[in-house]
Structure formats: C-alpha cells, structure tokens
Assembly symmetry: C2
Homo-oligomer: 90 residues x 2
C-alpha cells in the first residue's frame, strides 16, 4: 500500500475566517507570538498498488480542490510517519 497526500490550502489572497477565528482565540491561551493561522485540508489517498502522482493530481483537481480559490500540492508519503500521532491524554 502506498499513500499519496494531497494538501489543499486557500490561496494566500483568499481570506480564511476559520483560521482567523483560531488566531483570535490564541491570546486567551497566553499565546502572543503567532502571526497567522490558515486552515486547509489534508487528504490521504491509499493506492492498492504503486502510488500514481499524476492520477492523484487529477483526483485533487477534479474532486478535492476548488482551483478558483485553492492551491494544492501532491506528494508520496513514506510508509512510516516522521512523528508518531499524539495520543489523547487518558
């Protein structure tokens, strides 16, 4: 199994009210050194055979992103993640 990751983010010139809401909430957590927060989507596509970047790019363009307001990047992800997911505290 090979995993292709598609990252979809709003274009830089498009306002991101959801990210802005998170940024506005940060001072309440005592965080004052964050300049901006942008929220997008991460899509993991598992291919049953070889990962196909061109195919993934076509899927992203047709189904996952709105090219009018969003940019996307496509990459093959290594089998093992660089960092273990953070487990929720028990």
């Amino acid at each position: 199994m090979a995993r292709v990751v598609v990252d979809v983010m709003l274009k830089p010139e498009i306002l991101d009210p959801q990210g802005q809401a998170v940024a506005n909430a940060l001072p309440r957590l005592g965080v004052t050194d964050v300049a901006s927060v942008r929220i997008g989507r991460r899509i993991e596509i598992e291919f049953s055979g070889e990962p196909d970047l061109d195919r993934a790019r076509e899927i992203a363009d047709k189904l996952l992103a709105n090219p009018v307001i969003e940019d996307f990047t496509v990459r093959v992800e290594a089998e093992e993640p660089a960092e273990e997911p953070v487990e929720a505290p028990a």
Copy 2:
C-alpha cells in the same frame, strides 16, 4: 517567520464518510486502484519568532483537534515547500 504545520486526521477506527464519498466517486473518473481516501485538516501556524512546537501542540490539543476522535501531528515546515503549488489551469 517560521511555520508549524499541524495535521489533524480522524483516528483510524473512526468512519470517514466524506473520504468514503470521494472514494466512491473515483470509478467514474476511471480510477480503480485506490483502496481508501481519508480527509482531515492541515493547519499552518506562522510564528512571528522562533517556531514553538510545544506551544503548537497545546494549540492543537485545545483548539484544533477533538482528541476523542482525532489524532494530530505537529512539525516545523521548511521555508520553501518541497513542491510548488499546482496552479489552476487557465
């Protein structure tokens, strides 16, 4: 400016109907070698000074992820993206 990226994905045991809907649409595009599609969130946090992973982890835990159903990973991203964003065809 330093960028920290938080990837939030549903835990593997949680159903992802949004990803399933994309997976179900793939045969119409002629794609038959995709085993699964999972859709999560990618959050980019720009720190005005040094990137602070512990701080970002706290933000993710309190504001960005629901630890009951989601896992997240936190990492510092290099200044230059590995791949240029795909531009929408003109």
